[in-house]
């Protein structure tokens, strides 16, 4: 795989931001309530209300979730040195789900921030266990990592199911675990802004994360505090996953598909590719969300399902195309 391909031409460089802008605009315009395009020049109070209360929060939540998850995927892939790692294939999402359940039953009246804290702790613990498990394995087939991760997630999911059933919460759990952005309105999504500092920090440490992927020995001999960086990376990932699962539910495969496609296109230097990864993550979610809003208009398909189907298909293609 080429580390740094020839610099893309201006047209290619402008393509992604242009697509992103177009998708954002479409996301603002499309919905059950038709507000037309006239509001740009002469906003009526009604259109403004729809925009500020629902469309804009939704757009922000979508973009931040996409960016955060795509970047989480990149960090996990660097730490685990495996192309198939992402929050859904390392047990992180299921752990966050279990954390929310536990928080809901232990402190039913608690603030959302506390719930998120618990979810983040569970996610971090699951990530640490997963890294510990992988370190004990000597022989590593590249595909083995996601297989173990998916099984790890399945066991955590079964635990959550067991816990939820015995407390009569199974049905509501299935409801809010689907990545669903139709419930996002002003006042109920602000936690997603937590993704912003995560993205910024990842960009600041991008070079170090690139070095991390060379393995512990190499990274340490290059003067990197290996353990500290791994801990920082896993914390950033856990914060993102907890924030997105609390605001919108589980959105699988974004962290996997986006970084892999970007790597095929732009190579592996994180300092160069991170902005592309973040923008593409936002684009993918916007696209899938618009798709979900159109298919059975005026009703909606939860984003988790469209991404699950689209992302799963791309993932399968990636596995099948990859030489064994």
């Amino acid at each position: 795989m080429p580390l740094s391909p020839a610099p893309p031409s201006l047209a290619r460089r402008a393509a992604l931001p242009a697509a992103f802008a177009a998708l954002s605009l479409a996301s603002l315009l499309i919905g059950a309530k038709d507000i037309g395009i006239g509001w740009i020049f002469d906003p009526s109070p009604e259109a403004l209300l729809v925009l500020t209360a629902s469309r804009l929060p939704r757009l922000i939540a979508l973009v931040l979730t996409g960016m955060g998850l795509a970047i989480s995927g990149v960090i996990l892939q660097q730490i685990l040195r495996n192309r198939f790692a992402e929050p859904a294939t390392t047990g992180g999402m299921e752990a966050a789900k279990l954390g929310i359940l536990v928080a809901l039953t232990l402190f039913p009246a608690a603030a959302p921030l506390l719930r998120m804290g618990v979810a983040m702790l569970f996610c971090l613990a699951a990530n640490l266990i997963f890294v510990a498990i992988l370190q004990r394995i000597r022989f590593r087939d590249a595909v083995l990592v996601p297989v173990i991760g998916l099984m790890f997630g399945a066991v955590l999911g079964a635990l959550a199911e067991f816990y939820a059933f015995s407390r009569n919460m199974l049905q509501s759990m299935q409801g809010w675990m689907l990545g669903d952005f139709s419930r996002i309105v002003q006042g109920h999504y602000e936690m997603i802004y937590l993704v912003l500092p995560v993205v910024a920090l990842t960009y600041v440490f991008a070079r170090r994360f690139t070095v991390l992927a060379m393995g512990q020995d190499m990274a340490e001999s290059l003067g990197l505090g290996y353990r500290g960086m791994v801990a920082l990376g896993l914390t950033l990932v856990s914060a993102t996953v907890a924030a997105t699962v609390i605001t919108a539910g589980a959105v699988p495969f974004v962290g996997l598909v986006v970084p892999n496609l970007v790597t095929l296109w732009r190579g592996d230097n994180l300092r160069h590719t991170l902005p592309t990864v973040a923008l593409s993550g936002g684009c993918l979610l916007l696209f899938c969300d618009i798709l979900g809003r159109i298919v059975i208009y005026p009703y909606e398909v939860p984003l988790g399902l469209t991404v699950g189907a689209v992302g799963g298909a791309i993932f399968l293609l990636l596995i099948l195309r990859r030489p064994a």
Binding site: F84, I133, I137, R138, F139, R140, D141, V143, L144, P146, V147, I148, L150, M151, F152, A154, V155, A158, L159, E161, F162, F165, S166, L178, P252, I296, V301, P302, G304, L305, T306, G308, A309, G312, A313, F315, L316, I319, L320, P323, A324
Partner: protein, 313 residues
Amino acid sequence: MRHGLVLAALAALALLYLGWGTGFAPGFLLSRRLIRLGAMAVGGTGIAMASILFQTVARNRILTPAIMGYEAAYLLLQALLVLALGTASLRLLGDLGNMALSLALMLGWSLALHGLLFRDERNSMHRMLLIGLVLTLTLTSITQFVQLQISPGEFAVLQSFALISLDGISPNRLAISAVAVLAAGAIALRRAAIWDVMALGRDQALSLGLDHPREVRLCLTLIAVFAAATTSLIGPSAFMGIFIANIAYALTGGFRHRRTLPAGSLVAVAMLLIAELMVQHLFRFGTTVGILINLICGGYFLFLILRRAGRPA
């Protein structure tokens, strides 16, 4: 001697299940438990045989039909049926029609997988597993999407299909599945020696004079019958098959199908029975058989992968 002991233990479990709380008094409770017991026997046998045969064909000890998407495809079909025709379709088709349709679907699925399994020799075990897991996840997403289009009442009917469940089994459905599993089971047992040869791999089997392509086709057909019968009877078994098959290998100390097939069936039935007894008397219905089995078998599967992970595939 050991066989006698195992059978006696299983019979004792079955009697305990039938008698505990009913006192063997004939009536509604006893007849309901008899049907559930029958469903466990038929379903358990089907799951065990399908899993062991599939592992022989795929030459892989951590794959089962459930993981390779058979059950996810079945659920998608059911969702599509309800979407197209409404819940009435399930009654309209009847138990026999539904069974025939599932069988056709699973045969098709077997054929499709056949290409994937034998496409090239480089396909590693873990790669196949990953493909299976992702395929199942994607199909489940699509199924949920189809379910969303369905009215809430019909949605509730479909929801009960998501895990192993022994509720609401009609004697009719039990009889149809029993006939299918018995017939396929008899064929599978009679050809046990052939499966032993097939387990050696394509080249070995060919040089030993086995018509390998034909036997593989027959084996995949049997698997489709078992999978269709059990899935339409007690629902998707998820990771249960893998647990059963590996316990059967460990118990019989080898891979001779004449022994592993019956042993696996006994283990499966015993496991369902124990889970049902635990749900009734230990958890006081605080959980379900499906959730319990999923938890235990999922954990065991993870353990199995981790233990084998240190070695080359």
